[in-house]
Amino acid sequence: MTGPAKIETTNQDSVEQGDCPLSVMDLTVAYHRKPVIWDVEFDLPAGSLVGIVGPNGAGKSTLLKAVMELVPRASGRVEVFGKPYHLSRRNVGYVPQRESVDWDFPVDALDVVTMGLYGQVGWGRPVRQKHRDLAMQALEHVGIADLAKRQISQLSGGQQQRTFLARALVQDADLYLMDEPFAAVDAATEKAIVEILRELKQRKKTAVVIHHDLQTVPAYFDYVVLLNMRVVAHGPVQEVFTPENLQKTYGGRLTLLDEVTEAMRRRERSL
């Protein structure tokens, strides 16, 4: 592991843990015995923009979902601001992957953003005007306030992405998890998203972003996690985002892992 010493000093049992926005320890997730991510371990520094980079099938989305307890963990621990996720989830904003959204659902952009406040509104209580005002402000922030009443399938790809970004912003979380917010957006939206990310950083928030475009990594992020089933490297972009590490991340998957899983299956079948 090539993680830099600077970050590693925030050790597991140090008192400073409470400040660490996201700390993943020994995390393994498997679908039907086949490991998707394996022994993932990293701590993220507060107030940074973190890119998660890796090839298709590297388990990037799975990592975020495992952090949010949406998929079962085979082993390992995740701490968000020093607490298990379910105790600090109010403090986590999530931007889902475009493909996972049902765009025909009868909701408009404002509805979607307001959903980010349901935790604040409380169980069984109606959404009030002040919540709608907050949601409206968030839409203004991302520059599509005039489309608030438009059904979400009638928005362009960039506008859709902005809607979901606004929803994460309105949660006023300290940690944001974003699953490919830059996928299928126009140049103007990309710029807007980057601006919002920088703003978040200024306000000492942490954003963890799954990202595909390697060329923009150094410009957009200051910290990077290179993932290919396990963490190949993590640390500040200048130190870790090197050709050797990228080669390790993208060159060849863990074929031995596949082999051992296959062997396990064969054994199971023969029993």
Binding site: H32, K65, M68, E69, L70, R89, R90, V92, Y94, P96, S100, V101, D102, F105, P106, V107, D108, D111, V112, M115, G116, Y118, G119, V121, W123, G124, P126, V127, Q151, R167
Partner: protein, 452 residues
Amino acid sequence: MAMLAVLQGWDWQFDGWIMVVGVLCATSTALLGNFLVLRRMSMLGDAVSHAVLPGLVAAFLISHSRSSLAMFVGAVIVGVLTAMFTEWIRRFGRVEESAAMGVVFTSLFALGLVMIVQADHVDLDADCVLYGAIDLTPMFTVNIGAYEVPQAAVVLSVVTLINAAFVLVCYKELKISSFDPSLAHSQGVRPAWMHYALMVLVAVTTVACFESVGNILVVAMLVVPPSAAFLLTHRLGLMIVLSVVIGAAGAILGHVGAFAIPRAFGMPSTSTAGMMSVALGGLFVLALLFAPQQGLVSRSIRRFVLSQQILRDDIVAYLYRAGERHGEAIAKRSDLITELFSSAVPMSLALRRLVRQDCIRDCGQQIELTKQGEKLGKALVRSHRLWESYLVEQAELDRSKIHDKAEQWEHFTGQALRDRLVDQTSSTGLDPHGTVIPAEPKSDDDGPPDAS
């Protein structure tokens, strides 16, 4: 008067109750059905309504009575089990939800049939399962205070109230867990709980309606009104309200139809439950045809209106070009039809409208451009040629390819866009074919409308 003859034998007391029961079924099911449709689990009602059969029989065998309460409890338990089995099979068997449902409900339904055969004195017949006995519901009454009320109406009122309360109180929780379970999770709403609460209520409602309307109509009422409402609106709250209205309308129309339509042909009245399903199907077709946004009819009307606008533009531009070439902006009606690939009817509609707009004079076979029409034509031709210049200069398109695009875009180009085109093209005043681009027409005219 014929109307009255058809309604002979209509008894407000009796038929009124049938309609009340129908409307209550429709309301209670439609309220939940919206969320089934949106979660793409529409067939769950079908599954539950079939699968409850072994529950009914088991309740009968255990309690040795046809007490409604025992039957109800038995059916609800099996109904909820259906939902749970489906979920388990989907998760552990790694098959699609609909396949899992198919496995569960057919097995349970068949189990129920086998149990009926074993307990041969069970009084449950297939007709009753399929169509229910809504026409008989007014005969089984209970006393509430001084009133004699059909039992089904009482049970269904309670179920409707429960469902309405559930949807009202948990509206936003249902909305968020149907739309985005992972966000629901992070907002502290348990989507799994909402799922099971919904499943339990679907089972209760299905069983409550089942007795009155049978399992065909239960499924129709769960699925059809929300699907029709989905076509009519983009807002969830309105969709739920509309689905209830559509369901209730279908129930009322269904009963009146079952009573009146066969009599109009001199036959006895037909199955109310069947007719309610037919009425719901009819309402769905109406929604499909006439929905303001997605309706087939409204879509083709919009398409026709647009094609007429384009044809009128084309006529004016054609006449303007003729004026450029021969000095006289005149053309034969038959030439217009062949040159603009139109036919007689749309052409005469377009010409009539242009005459009314004072853009052309219609002198029998000759069509002549007026002053007003000349301005419009000038604007269109100007847009066309500016686009051609732009495509060659900015998009570096081959000259043979630019005409079609310009031909399409000229209809959607207003003065503001033309001004920007001027800014971004060289100001030679000629288009790529070497033709003069006409000047912007004087301002009292606004050219063809913008894309709006």
